[in-house]
């Protein structure tokens, strides 16, 4: 999948993590931007990981950072350029997703999702105890 992504996204010079991050912002932003922490939780990565990606996107002009309600929390939101980038990239991304699951029935996919959820919950539990 990573290889497929790189193929389709070569012309946009947008990495997978950057794309995921932009999608996260547009999904969560309700008009006032979103904090890096919320975004990290949503994307299942550490704050530290997100921090670096977000900085790159800000530097590239696809995201803006504004001060939030207090001095330690910020707010990220899409710029015009960021919105445009998403408009251009969402189609190849959906194509890749379709391509990936082609040939697999809904039942099979749902089954697989259930297994993955089980594994995640189970491992997280073992982790906490261990």
């Amino acid at each position: 999948m990573a290889a497929g992504f790189d193929q389709r996204f070569a012309e946009f010079t947008l990495t997978q993590a950057q794309f995921r991050t932009l999608v996260g912002v547009i999904m969560l932003d309700r008009g006032e931007g979103i904090t890096p922490s919320e975004l990290a939780d949503h994307l299942f990565v550490e704050r530290a990981t997100l921090s670096v990606v977000a900085q790159a996107l800000v530097k590239r002009g696809l995201l803006v950072r504004r001060p939030g309600e207090n001095r330690r929390s910020h707010r990220l939101s899409l710029t015009e350029a960021g919105t445009l980038m998403l408009q251009q990239t969402i189609t190849p991304a959906l194509e890749l997703a379709d391509e990936t699951v082609k040939g697999l029935s809904k039942d099979i996919l749902q089954n697989m999702l259930a297994v993955l959820n089980h594994l995640e919950a189970h491992l997280r539990l073992a982790q906490k105890k261990g």
Copy 2:
């Protein structure tokens, strides 16, 4: 799983890739060592990736490199220390594997394996065409 591995393997200062590589060597070695290329294929990583890991293991004294039948191909095999390390680490590794699939029936797991194989073959195909 990565977190679980790190927990169990902390005392051995052996990374996951290093452990996998040692296991690969003991599985493939039929007495004369194994070439890095064979090993890389077996582990589904690029030769370049394996090269770095193998160098680290050689430097640590867990593997040795010997010249092979011709001057460009080498042979990797376990040292005594490497064998000892595997003996010490194989138990926690198997424990982790057991722990991971605990609560999942054989049917479910086989089903999942089939799905993953399908995905891999399918994506590889799309890759070549695209």
